[in-house]
Amino acid sequence: MLGRSDARDGVPIPLCTEDAVANSSQAMEPSEEVLQDLHFRMVRIRHFEEEAGKLMEQGKSPGALHLYIGEEAVASGVMVHLSDQDQITSTHRGHGHLVAKGGEFKKMYAELYGRETGYNKGRGGSMHISNVDAGMLGANGIVAAGPPIAVGAAFSNKYLARIAGRDSMNVAVPFFGDGATNEGAFHEAANMAAIWKLPVVFVCENNGFGEFTRQEDHQAISDIADRAAGYGMPGVICDGMDAVAVWEAAGEAIERARSGGGPTLVECKTYRYVDHVGLRGIGLNYRTDEELEEWKKRDPIEQHEKRLVEMGVMTEEEIQAVHDAVMADITESIEFAENSPLPDPADLLNDVYTPTAAS
C-alpha cells in the first residue's frame, strides 16, 4: 500500500508495511513503524528544501523556488496513507509533496537544475515537478488549478473500480493553500466531488498567507473547514504542525473516500517559515519575526523527535543517523544533478504532442 519506491538507493528507509498501516488505521493509533515513517518523510523534506534553497540563492539552479519548510507534517501525515496508485495534485510549493510521495532526490535536484535526467527531463522545473508513475500529477504554477484535476483522477478511480468490480477505490488528494479557496476552480471541484461522491480528500494547507497577503486580509473566515458545509461534505481541522494529528485526520478521511463515502475537506493549520520565494524567513514586511518564532516553537520535526524519544521509539542516535543518511543522499544527488546532461536544444519541440502512427 505504501509508496515504497525502490528508488531510494542506499538510504535506510523506515517506511512501514501495508499491514502496519492498516492495523494502525483501524486503531487510529500510530504504530512505531508509522511514527518512524512520518519522521523520515519530514526529515527528507526539510533537508531537501534547505539545500535546494541554498542552490537557488547561490545561483546554481535557475529560476524561483517556493519552499515547503515548516509545513512538512502535512505532506508526510497524508502521504503515509497513499500508495503509488493514489494520486495527488500539488501547488507552487510542491517539492514537499513529491518528496513525501517517495520522490527520488537525484531526479528532483536534476529537475531543479533543468537537466535531462530530471523527473520532467528539465521541461518543468520546480513549479511543475511531477512523477505521474507514482500518482504525483504535478506541482502547479496556477493557484487552485489542481483540485479540478484531482476530481478528474478520482472520477477515473471510481470508473475503473466499477469496471473491475472492486468496492475499494484509489483516492485522489489535491493539496492547496488558504488562498486557493478563494478561486472559483476550487469551488467547482469541491462541488463536483461532493455531488458524485468521488474518492477525493481536499487537503488545505492553511499557512496563513496567500502569497504575501495575510489570511485575515484575503478572506472573512479563519477556518477553511467551514467551507465544507457549503458543499455538503465533512470539514475537519487538524494541527498541521503535528504529523500524527495530520495522520489521524487524513487517515479517517482517506478511508471514507476509499470505501465510497465521498470527499472530505481536511484543513491543516500550518506556517511557512520562509518567504513566498526563497529561503529568507525574517525581516519580512508582512509579518513579524516574533510570529515566526512562536510557530517555530512547535516545529513539526522537533516536536515529533521529542515524541519518538519519549515513547522510546527511536534514540537520539538513531534520529541523528536518519538525518545523516538523508544528507548523504542529498550530497550525492546534487552531484548527480550537476553532472547530468542538459537537454539537447534539438529536442525543444519533443513532447508538445503525443506522437501517433499517422504523425
Binding site: 521541461r123 511531477s130 483522477a153 472520477f155 476552480a185 504523425s359
Partner: protein, 334 residues
C-alpha cells in the same frame, strides 16, 4: 463537399451526424465517457446528444454542474489517469470560464512533465453567429485555441466531417477541440453508417479552380462556395479550400493552390484582427510570394462584439457577396 454536391448516399443532418459520432466513439472505447452541461437528460441544446444517456447509462453519459473549469479539469485528471474523456463546452463563448484548465493544464501537461503524461481528451463546442444570440453566444474564438501549443483544432462544416472529426478526436492521444458550427445544425449531407476518421491536418479542396484560391473554414466554407458560383458566372474560376484542421494547418495544400492560381483570399467568421486568417495570409506571403499577382485579401468580421439586432448581425457576418466583391478587387475586376 457541399450538400449540393453530395452523392445520393445515406443522408444525415449535421445534428444527427454529431450524435452518431459520439455514439460510435463511446461504443468502440469502453474507457470513453461523455460529460458536460445538460448532455445527458436533455441531450444538450439542439438535441445533439439525444439518446446517448439511454444507450450508455449515467456512468458514461454525465450531466455536470454548470462548471466549465470543473469540466475541463475533469477531462485533464481523468485523461491523465487512463480514461478517454469526451467533454462538451456548450457554446464556445464559455471557454473564458475554463481557459486556465485549457491553456495551462490540458495543453501543457504533457510537455511540462517531459512527455510522461498523455491527454487523450476530446472537447466538443459550438461556435458562430447568425442566430441572434448576441455577443456572448455567437463568437468564433478558434484563434485562441490555435495559438496554444499542445492543442489540435478541427472545425467541421459538413455532416460527414463533423462525425469524422468527433471519432478522430476520440481516437487521438492528444487534446482535440472539435469546434462545431451552430448555424449548420440542419445541414444534410452524406454520412456513412460505419465509424470513420479524418486525416489529421489535411485540408479538403471543396471546389477546383485556377484563377483564385479562397481559403475558408467553418460555416464560411458554404459562403465561399456560393461566392465561387457567383464568380463563375462572371468568368472567374475560384478554387475553394477548407483547411478543416486549423491546428495543425495544412500549409502545403494552400501553397500548392496559390502557386497555381496566383491569387489568394482568406475568409473566416471570426474577427479579422489576429484571426486564423492572418496566420494563413502570412504563410502565403512567406511561402508563395513569388507566385502572387496581388496582395492576399481577407474577409472576416469587423473588430466588434457580435451585435444582437438582426440587421446589425447580418452586416457583421461575412457572406458570399462580400467574398465575391473582395475577389473582384484582388483580381482588378472591381
Amino acid at each position: 463537399m457541399t450538400a449540393a454536391e453530395a452523392p445520393a448516399g445515406r443522408q444525415l443532418v449535421y445534428t444527427l451526424a454529431i450524435t452518431e459520432g459520439v455514439r460510435q466513439a463511446l461504443q468502440e472505447e469502453p474507457l470513453a465517457f461523455m460529460a458536460g452541461e445538460d448532455v445527458a437528460g436533455a441531450g444538450s441544446v439542439f438535441g445533439i446528444y439525444r439518446g446517448l444517456l439511454d444507450e450508455f447509462g449515467p456512468d458514461r453519459v454525465i450531466d455536470t454542474p454548470i462548471s466549465e473549469s470543473g469540466i475541463i479539469g475533469l477531462a485533464v485528471g481523468a485523461g491523465a489517469t487512463g480514461l478517454k474523456p469526451i467533454v462538451d463546452i456548450m457554446f464556445m463563448d464559455f471557454i473564458g470560464e475554463c481557459m486556465d484548465e485549457i491553456v495551462n493544464q490540458l495543453a501543457k501537461m504533457r510537455y511540462m512533465f517531459g512527455g510522461k503524461a498523455t491527454l487523450p481528451v476530446t472537447v466538443l463546442t459550438m461556435s458562430g453567429a447568425g442566430m441572434n444570440l448576441a455577443a456572448q453566444h455567437s463568437q468564433s474564438l478558434e484563434a485562441w485555441l490555435c495559438h496554444t501549443p499542445g492543442l489540435k483544432v478541427v472545425m467541421p462544416a459538413t455532416a460527414y466531417d463533423v462525425k469524422g472529426a468527433i471519432i478522430t478526436a476520440a481516437r487521438e492521444p492528444n487534446p482535440v477541440f472539435v469546434v462545431m458550427c451552430k448555424g449548420l445544425m440542419a445541414l444534410p449531407g452524406e454520412v456513412p453508417e460505419e465509424p470513420y476518421d479524418l486525416p489529421i491536418g489535411k485540408a479538403v479542396v471543396r471546389r477546383e479552380g485556377d484563377g483564385l484560391t479562397i481559403v475558408a473554414h467553418g460555416r464560411m466554407i458554404h459562403e465561399a462556395t456560393k461566392a465561387a458560383d457567383i464568380l463563375e458566372g462572371e468568368g472567374v474560376s475560384a478554387e475553394v479550400i477548407d483547411p478543416l484542421w486549423l491546428q495543425p494547418l495544412d500549409t502545403d495544400t494552400i501553397i500548392d493552390s496559390v502557386s497555381k492560381t496566383h491569387n489568394a483570399l482568406v475568409v473566416h467568421e471570426a474577427v479579422r484582427f489576429g484571426g486564423v486568417g492572418a496566420e494563413i495570409a502570412a504563410q502565403i506571403a512567406e511561402l508563395a510570394f513569388d507566385h502572387l499577382d496581388a496582395p492576399v485579401g481577407r474577409v472576416a468580421a469587423p473588430f466588434s462584439p457580435v451585435p444582437f439586432s438582426p440587421v446589425l448581425e447580418q452586416t457583421y457576418v461575412p457572406n458570399a457577396e462580400r467574398i465575391a466583391a473582395e475577389a473582384r478587387s484582388i483580381l482588378g475586376l472591381g
